[in-house]
Symmetry: C2
Subunit: 260 residues, 2 copies
């Protein structure tokens, strides 16, 4: 395939996706970003031209990948004429239909992963969910996504939205609990470092076991003594106390259901 790409938006997802496509031989012709320095940074890595001006976007590109905050999509896309080119968004929460008014050929590429600028990511094992407005466009996306990942799956908009919510629980909320755990340790001058092996093992366990089998701790043992002690210890921080109580109850209820 000699398809070439333009990225509209140069945030963390675009940054890693453009690099991954480029490393597989796809030409990244152009990077647009409202803040020029970010467009420039990525363009230098992928050998592309860059711009922060919407009407400088090259009209002859094969595939336009929109990686913008959901709230910016409409404002940006309404200023570009995509003619019969293929327009792709990468949002978990936006249905494919939001692209309908901007292009004749459109689709979605949604890689289920958390992207930070400073972390290299290996796309080969990242599940990529695709959707398109026609079987022909779906075939193109399957090919493109298939060059960077071994796990390309078709998901319609409703499924994708649920994938996004699941990812918020399994990643963003999980990371927030790492944060809370670290904040608690700070009060006794203990370094976050001591939690790292526990955090890693917790994630490694569910690579093999189902989470319900992997669960340990006071809530799953119905150890009310410990739970009461912990709650009284957290009494000074109502936010943490409330979370502790609510989630312990949730663990308790779901394991009760499972066990009997």
């Amino acid at each position: 395939m000699s398809l070439n790409f333009c990225f509209i938006g140069a945030g963390n997802l675009a940054f890693h996706l453009a690099k991954a496509l480029n490393s597989k031989g796809f030409q990244i012709k152009q990077i647009y970003n409202r803040t020029e320095s970010r467009a420039k940074e990525l363009a230098e890595i992928t050998g592309s031209v860059y711009t922060s001006t919407l009407n400088e976007i090259d009209k002859s590109t094969d595939i336009y990948i929109v990686a913008l905050k959901d709230s910016a999509i409409d404002e940006v896309l309404s200023q570009i004429d995509f003619s019969d080119k293929l327009l792709i968004h990468c949002s978990g929460s936006q249905p494919i239909s939001v692209l309908n008014k901007y292009a004749k050929n459109f689709g979605v590429i949604y890689p289920l992963q958390t992207f930070s600028r400073s972390r290299e990511v290996d796309f080969s094992n990242i599940p990529i969910f695709i959707e398109a407005n026609s079987p022909e466009n779906l075939a193109i996306l399957k090919n493109v996504a298939g060059t960077i990942s071994e796990k390309v799956l078709v998901a319609e908009s409703e499924q994708r939205q649920l994938l996004h919510i699941s990812a918020v629980f399994a990643c963003n909320f999980v990371n927030h609990f790492y944060f809370i755990a670290g904040e608690l340790l700070k009060t006794k001058n203990i370094s976050f470092d001591v939690l790292k092996p526990l955090i890693l093992e917790t994630a490694l366990k569910v690579q093999e076991l189902q989470p319900i089998e992997a669960q340990t701790g006071p809530a799953v043992r119905f150890d009310k003594n410990i739970i009461e002690k912990h709650l009284s210890k957290l009494a000074d921080t109502e936010e943490y106390r409330q979370l502790y109580e609510l989630i312990s109850k949730s663990i308790f209820e779901h394991h009760k259901k499972t066990n009997g």
Copy 2:
């Protein structure tokens, strides 16, 4: 050192700790467990005798490691005469002082990790927190723990209790969110497997970055549109909706503090 050990309790922690000590050349003389089959299983691995009868516990052992549910500690220990032997508990939540009435020499060994029967664990990088009733006993525990782990730290009871609460957030609650994420996917017939690379990367990120730097997703971007959409999608499951709202608010508040 030619110290030998008796384990009182053969749960998941005892199972892995006894194996680790045994693999470093310590003799595990005896395993007691109320359910004999569990004592037998571990005893066969560590070349020990086993019993489910408290008055058969060997009085001549150097170190007794109590790995019981907190609520069972008093009932079991009050039936054993430890004389001047060293009595150790492994509980995050029990202060060292609970052992005072059962022995003259006592202490705590608390490995900060989640243990499941079916998962091998590498003790060498697990932080082990120790405490003892005398400098002499602390030195013994430092030696014992130091043979299986490179990270032996002294922590008093108050610190250990906080370590335990932190571990509940960073492990048990995290695992419950893996569970919830999987339950959500089930409603659309999507396999839990698709979350595995995301779960692993989320844990790997905080091995290098602080959680506050690693955070991504709608809450940290203050993306109210997506949050509202997700909440309405979760409206049928009040439990998940409430958790989503509470934690998004918590992420929002803590990042507001940090950024401004």
